[in-house]
Amino acid sequence: MSGAWREYLGLGVALGALVLAFGALTDHFLSRATFAVIASQVPAAILVAVGMTFVLILAGIDLSVGSVLGLAGAVLGAALGPLGLSLPAGLLATLLTGLLCGALNGALSVYVRLPSFIVTLGMMEIARGTAYTVSRSQTAYLGARVEWIAETTVLGLSPATLVALAAAAVGQIVLSRTLFGRYVVAIGTNEEAVRLSGIDPRPIKWIVFAASGLLAGLAAVVHTARLASADPNAGSGLELQAIAAVVIGGTSLMGGRGSVVRSLFGVVIIAVLGTGLAQMGAAEPVKRLITGCVIVAAVVIDRYRNRSQGREGQ
């Protein structure tokens, strides 16, 4: 396993350095409260990033996840509010909403052969519009019925965090150990070669897009629970944040290469950066500026590392 650890070393060191730097620069960054804030923020981003990792490895993209999160959250709000459904039924409706959006993305991009960029850009608008319609553009307060999901238990972890970590673990195992994961990497590397090896790439790609939608639905539950309310604006911009996190983790936008665990590091790095800068008193514009620089720098470093590993053959 030494190879596997080395794979995470760079990101681990970067994260550690970031934490220590903020610890040195502010009085109270290294405190339980800070970590509680970060831990409460990351689960939704992790869930979305897990799905995004798979989509990017396939050389696709899913721009709709933020809006799908908003729509699924609105469905949860409507289910538990005006419709008066039970919590399990509401949760089921939320997840199904995500799954449906993802499956539609997949069907259009895989079977109708439209670029996933366009399909998911369309879905981004469709889902957001539907979210406003479903919620009548109102934030629905749900309170204690969902709040418990995001509340810390004795172990210091909330059910939301546990679900997110479990999803990441399952994602990493699927990607690295299963037939499905191997096919995903192979398709992202050279789809035609896979097809000519007698494997139909289409169902695999479709499942990946559907799963990305499902995970956005799950993220909606987590996000709604944290705020104790369903906000139709929830998740706007999350798609770009997730892509940034995944790319910081070294997944290639060109497909064929990536790791869920590394995406997890990416999510946490972005969250630490955001929280740390806020504690230093940085204004929103400065935060965005610095985050942007970090994203670009991470990709530059990753590119350099890959080149030095002797990609040049004869």
Binding site: T178, L179, Y183, V185, A186, L196, I199
Partner: protein, 507 residues
């Protein structure tokens, strides 16, 4: 008095993970064709790339007519009069033919491309390589492999050059196209240019080269003047042992003739008009024809990779309702394909040798959806040793292997799957002699084991050595079929040209 040395390389060395070149010195003299031979992986491409600055040597130096020469890339090399046509064509698919030919040197006026001058210059450059009839506004993407090769050649020659480096230039060419290339080489030579000609094809080398340098494992093992070395001696120098001649075809029993696959009237658009043949158990059937005759299209149609418009297919005596509609279906019916272009359609280049070897049967190496690493490694190891794939380890990216070893990996993917029919499209293109002999041997073995093998090749010589029968395609239909006793280069060529005669210079 010996001719002037136009380009001199002294003690060049380059190491990737393993040494690719060590202490290589070479002289290119004006008015000579200098052949560079060696197995794939011997360092020919690395040397060629260093000479035009695409790769930086770790040690050594180069002199261009006595002046220090360390180009930073193709552009600077071109300014110093050194041009290259790479084995891997770097063409921009979306450009037009004219734009591609002059890429990097578009004539312009006030910042706008001067289309008329562009067309005129491109026309002149293309005429030099015999592509005069081609539509200058055609997109590069619509060209076949052979035309692309000639286009790359035209691009290299569009600017005046004193030293021309050709890396495996005839691999994708039909014999007709190759002749055009040779004529152009003769012309440049007569003008006093030096040509470095890297090739596997010893017949060509013997015919064209004034001197031959043999590389083995990154070192120069010999340089011979014209007529000094026989082909057999060159082969021995290249592989470092007596490689033996081609595998004896006759060691294999004559196939029973019981047909496994039979197709009739296969049609698709203008490329396939009427293709019919049958393929027997234990038979190796050759499919010959010029570029654009429908060879690749026939194979792809049989494999379900492209849609078919009409025709009948019979497999193991049973008539199928239609041709396969997907490769998956074809594979499920016991058909396997070794693709024409291993880099684009065959391999997962950045992935390991292991992942590439097991791709087609990974599902069998799983338990409940999980890949069994030991089973996979064992399967890959068995295949790699059975095929003699030379790699540092099974985890080495297949990108780093030589062409011959890459081709073995593509073939190996199918070997322990259950198939009856193996379709091979140019199975030895860009592959060195030793690896080619090994691949031929594997195909013979498969046939001897009762598989039906279809081989497409641009080299009639290869088909003659390998096949029981040769079907010749001409402009999308079968022009002739030859049995072993009737194999005759000229007759095959005449048949191949039958329907292409109508002035299709570069089809």
């Amino acid at each position: 008095m010996p001719a002037a040395v136009l380009l001199r390389a002294e003690s060049l060395a380059k190491t990737y993970t393993t040494p690719a070149l060590a202490d290589v010195s070479l002289e290119l003299r004006g008015g000579e064709v200098h052949a560079l031979v060696g197995e794939n992986g011997a360092g020919k491409s690395t040397l060629a790339r260093i000479l035009v600055g695409l790769t930086k040597p770790d040690a050594g130096r180069m002199l261009r007519e006595g002046h220090a020469y360390a180009p930073s890339g193709k552009a600077e090399a071109a300014r110093r009069g050194v041009a290259i046509v790479l084995q891997e064509l770097n063409l921009v698919e979306s450009l037009t033919v004219a734009e591609q030919v002059l890429l990097g040197a578009w004539p312009s006026r006030l910042g706008f491309v001067d289309r008329r001058a562009l067309r005129e210059q491109a026309h002149a450059a293309l005429g030099r390589v015999g592509l005069r009839g081609i539509d200058l506004e055609r997109p590069v993407r619509s060209l076949g492999v052979g035309q692309r090769q000639m286009l790359a050649m035209a691009a290299a020659l569009a600017r005046p050059c004193r030293v021309l480096i050709l890396d495996e230039p005839t691999a994708a060419l039909s014999e007709h196209e190759a002749e055009r290339l040779f004529a152009e080489m003769e012309r440049l030579k007569a003008e006093g240019a030096a040509i470095l000609y890297a090739s596997h094809r010893l017949e060509e080398v013997r015919r064209l080269a004034d001197r031959v340098t043999v590389l083995r494992d990154g070192r120069v093992v010999a340089t011979r003047e014209r007529g000094e070395a026989t082909s057999a001696e060159l082969v021995q120098l290249m592989v470092g042992r007596d490689a033996g001649s081609r595998p004896p075809r006759d060691a294999r029993p004559t196939p029973s003739g019981e047909p496994v696959l039979r197709i009739r009237g296969l049609r698709r658009g203008r490329v396939l008009r009427d293709v019919s043949f049958e393929l027997g158990r234990g038979e190796i059937l050759g499919l010959a024809g010029l570029m654009g005759s429908g060879r690749t299209e026939t194979v792809r149609a049989l494999f379900g990779a492209d849609r078919v418009e009409g025709g009948e297919i019979e497999l193991r005596g049973r008539r199928l309702p239609r041709f396969f509609t997907s490769p998956k279906q074809a594979v499920a019916h016991g058909i396997a394909l070794v693709t024409e272009n291993r880099k684009d359609e065959g391999l997962l280049l950045p992935l390991s040798v292991r992942a590439n070897l097991t791709l087609a049967r990974l599902s069998e190496l799983c338990r409940r959806g999980f890949v069994r690493p030991e089973a996979e490694t064992a399967a890959a190891r068995t295949l790699a040793s059975r095929l003699g794939v030379k790699c540092a380890s099974l985890e080495q990216p297949v990108r780093q292997l030589s062409g011959g070893n890459q081709q073995k990996v593509v073939l190996g993917r199918w070997l322990d799957r259950d198939f009856d029919v193996l379709l091979c499209d140019e199975p030895t293109r860009g592959v060195d002699v030793a690896a080619r002999a090994e691949i031929h041997e594997h195909l013979q073995e498969l046939a001897a084991a009762g598989k039906a093998v279809l081989v497409v090749s641009s080299e009639i010589e290869e088909l003659r050595a390998l096949c029981d029968r040769i079907v010749v395609l001409s402009a999308g239909s079968v022009a002739a079929t030859f049995g072993r006793e009737g194999f005759d280069q000229d007759a095959i060529l005449v048949a191949a040209l039958r329907d292409h005669a109508g002035g299709k210079g570069a089809a």
